[in-house]
Amino acid sequence: MRLSHEDVEHVAALARVRLTPQERERMVEVLSSVLGHMEVLGDEMAGERPLSTDRINVLARLREDRPCPIQDSGRLLALGPNTRAGQFVVPRIVQDI
């Protein structure tokens, strides 16, 4: 499958990655080439039961629901690139009316 510039731009928006024009150019070639190799996945696999529903999830289990110690919030906040008054700072997303 060959992707267009518009396809790449759409996927970049979904992935929350801004691409430069050069990166977009490169990505059209790289993704189209890699997707070309995916054709071996084959039509006969369409509708087959995927692995994730049985074999992998059988390993997953929930732990007992009981309180346990958590990281000190001050240490976690200290990792933030921009914090104020015990909170992470982000650009305003709700405008004043």
């Binding site: 979904l14 992935a15 990655v17 790289v30 997707l35 696999m45 992998i56 732990r63």
Partner: protein, 487 residues
């Protein structure tokens, strides 16, 4: 080279426990070698000299009975820089985590240290473990200790090069599609992908959670067995951790009576040296009493395609957490979405962007069934295929990689060619099976290796076959590192 650096893990523990060598002497010998060769070969991203030296002094002060209780007493280890530690920085080879200091230890690190190991530093890797050469590290590539013009493999290239180059006695790696076994093969050391769920992933920076597994990289099979015993076991902090006790360590090395699967055919492009090495080794195992049975692996080409849908799909979700808000680098911008977009554009390297884009595409409306749906169905067919093979054989002996260490830069512009290096490794991650790469000597100055694959939880059997391979193989010498690296 100092004789201290030639001790295997088992020999080093014996020497430090008996007091014939102090842990401080051992650590100091490794730190001094790191000081000489880490610059040119770029193996460790951070050296934890102060904490390692201090820990060695503390261990030296223990009584004989206290030492005997520590299975890794005084063992210097290097840790791949996608495993978090409560000291030093953890970058995962990415600019987006430059300067990140984790507030806790990964379970595997905690277990090794509790057993007496001493962490020397954090090893280089492809950014977020996405790569097969270590060239995708944002901090520059690691050079292969056997030939500094070639790659050490990846993504655990720093860990494999550290063990091969005697910059550490053992190391931790992570393997999502071959990232322990392929660099181990390229550097001439032993690398184990444990059964999925055998080793806790708590504290491993997630790449593709249904495939990621932490494992040991060592000089000998025995050393890998000792490390796995310490690392393995249930951890309530990892939802996929198996309630299985750690495997016993034995010294069994007989393959007499074992049914070993060997490949009846190879896809195009497999290096003739790889085939010849494997043929030679399987004949040696037959001479040692194993029965060889021809098998066809579940289609490796299809496995590779499925892997390069599933792993990027999971990565695209896992890496959505890097948004410049809670930790890591941030690029200020007008508006929240612009903050995300700019931070990620500046923080991620080209290969990580490739994979995030590929994964996002495969999960997007209109393409999900055609790519992700089919890939997960192929994944099930591969797991079923291995089940059928293991009804006929006890284990499979096959190549670790279809190729040998390639020149730096050779594959950077052709991602699929880079991905082909994982041809024989990815299917084990897809099926959750263990695999052991064992070096079998040098050909034309470069290491060669074979891979042993077994059913789930068959690590003791893999070690047994691995020891037989070690005995039949030419002994691995130490590489002659150059102070000028590739210069």
């Amino acid at each position: 080279m100092s004789g201290l650096l030639d001790l295997t893990l088992t020999e080093a523990v014996r020497a430090t426990r008996s007091g014939s060598v102090s842990t401080s002497e051992l650590v100091s010998a490794y730190l001094s070698r790191i000081g000489r060769f880490n610059g040119p070969y770029h193996i460790l991203l951070e050296v934890l000299e102060e904490s390692a030296t201090q820990r060695a002094h503390e261990l030296d002060a223990l009584s004989a009975s206290e030492r005997d209780r520590l299975p890794l007493y005084g063992v210097p280890v290097a840790v791949k820089d996608n495993l978090v530690m409560d000291r030093g920085s953890t970058t995962a080879g990415s600019r987006i985590l430059e300067g990140y200091r984790a507030p806790y230890n990964a379970t595997v690190v905690e277990r090794l240290e509790r057993a007496g190991a001493i962490v020397l530093g954090k090893t280089n890797l492809d950014e977020f473990a996405m790569g097969s050469s270590t060239e995708h590290s944002a901090y520059g590539p690691t050079l292969n200790p056997w030939d500094p013009t070639r790659v050490p493999g990846g993504s655990s290239g720093g860990s494999a090069a550290a063990v091969a180059g005697r910059l550490s006695l053992a190391a931790l790696g992570s393997d999502t599609g071959g990232s322990i076994r392929q660099p181990a093969a390229y550097c001439g050391v032993v690398g184990l992908l444990p059964t999925y769920g055998r080793v806790s992933r708590y504290g491993l920076i997630a790449f593709a959670s249904s495939l990621d597994q932490v494992g040991p990289i060592t000089r000998t099979v025995d050393d890998a067995a000792v490390l796995l015993r310490v690392m393995a076991g249930f951890d309530p902090r990892d939802q996929t951790s198996l309630r299985e006790p750690p495997p016993d360590v034995s010294d069994e090395a007989s393959v007499r009576g074992l049914r070993l699967g060997i490949l009846s055919s190879y896809p195009e492009g497999v290096d003739p040296v790889v085939r010849a090495t494997l043929d030679h080794m399987t004949r040696a195992l037959a001479d040692a009493g194993a029965r060889l049975v021809s098998v066809d692996l579940p289609d490796p080409t299809r496995a590779l395609a499925a892997y390069y849908v599933i792993a990027p799909a999971e990565a695209s979700s896992n890496l959505s957490r890097y948004d410049g808000v809670r930790y890591g680098k941030r690029k200020e911008a007008e508006g929240l979405y612009a903050l995300y977009d700019e931070t990620r554009a500046a923080g991620f390297g080209p290969e990580v962007k490739n994979r995030i884009m590929l994964g996002t595409f495969a999960l997007s409306a209109g393409y999900y069934d055609a790519y992700y749906g089919r890939a997960t169905a192929v994944r099930k067919a591969i797991a079923d295929g291995y089940d059928r093979i293991f009804e006929r054989v006890d284990a499979i002996v096959c190549p670790t990689t279809p190729d040998r260490p390639f020149p730096l830069g050779e594959r950077l512009s052709d991602p699929w060619r880079m991905y082909l290096s994982d041809l024989y490794t990815v299917s084990l991650n897809l099926a959750g099976l263990p695999g052991l790469s064992v070096p079998v000597g040098l050909q034309e100055g470069l290491p060669t290796a074979v891979q042993v694959v077994g059913p789930r939880l068959s690590e003791p059997l893999l070690f047994r076959i691995g020891r037989a391979i070690e005995r039949a193989a030419a002994p691995m010498p130490a590489p002659d590192l150059k102070e000028g690296g590739a210069a």
